[in-house]
């Protein structure tokens, strides 16, 4: 399990937003959204807040820190 886990895919699906729409609203590329959803890239705090804001949830509901996770 990675250090930073997220529920972006589930929350995005619930709000019926495509990866490209989320990327456009956050100001990142679609490839970055894909990398975040696959837990292969941990975004900066600023981007994480933007993702949570676009998905309409608090940050901790979108991203979770797991101290036992692997980098």
């Amino acid at each position: 399990m990675p250090v930073i886990r997220n529920q972006v895919r589930e929350l995005r699906a619930r709000r019926e937003i495509t990866q490209q729409e989320l990327a456009d609203q956050v100001g990142v590329t679609r490839q970055t959204v894909i990398a975040i959803e696959q837990d292969k890239y941990s975004p900066s705090l600023e981007t994480a807040f933007k993702v949570a804001m676009v998905l309409g949830v608090p940050l901790e509901q979108c991203f979770q820190y797991d101290p036992k996770g692997k980098r």
């Binding site: 990327a23 590329t29 490839q31 970055t32 292969k40 890239y41």
Partner: protein
């Protein structure tokens, strides 16, 4: 161009293609090196890069770059720098080794051309390793 590649990835593939196209023959066909050829290659790579980047920019609608692009760019520069620094140490060590053995006369024009070729080659390898590292980072979705 509606591939799954981002704008930055497309420019990286174009850069790698240009580098291999221009520098490849120089290193693999064992041509007689000269300052004019090195200067010609530098000119060729600049023209080719500008042309390719222009074509990609025209055909790519979404030209957004973000923090992940910048992170990957830095990783590429780190890999390129490490290779250049390592090869420079090896190159200077060999220069010192051969100079102390008296294998060449440092005032000879051919020695100067030889070292121009070697150090230009080191820069090219650094540049290619930077581009390849960035492409691999994108492919691994880091």
């Amino acid at each position: 161009m509606s591939t799954g590649l981002s704008y930055r990835e497309k420019t990286l593939y174009a850069s790698l293609a240009a580098e291999l196209l221009v520098y490849g023959p120089y290193f693999f066909l064992h041509q007689q090196n000269s300052i004019n050829k090195v200067a010609g290659m530098i000119f060729a790579i600049i023209v080719l890069q500008v042309l390719l980047q222009l074509i990609i920019a025209i055909f790519t609608r979404n030209r957004v770059t973000d923090e992940r692009d910048r992170l990957i760019e830095l990783r590429g520069y780190r890999a390129g720098y490490q290779l250049i620094a390592s090869l420079m140490v090896v190159g200077l060590g060999m220069l010192w080794f051969h100079a102390t053995r008296g294998d060449f006369h440092i005032e000879s024009r051919m020695v100067g051309l030889h070292f121009l070729s070697v150090f230009f080659g080191i820069l090219v390898m650094g540049d290619i390793s930077k581009t390849v590292t960035q492409i691999l980072a994108y492919r691994r979705a880091i």
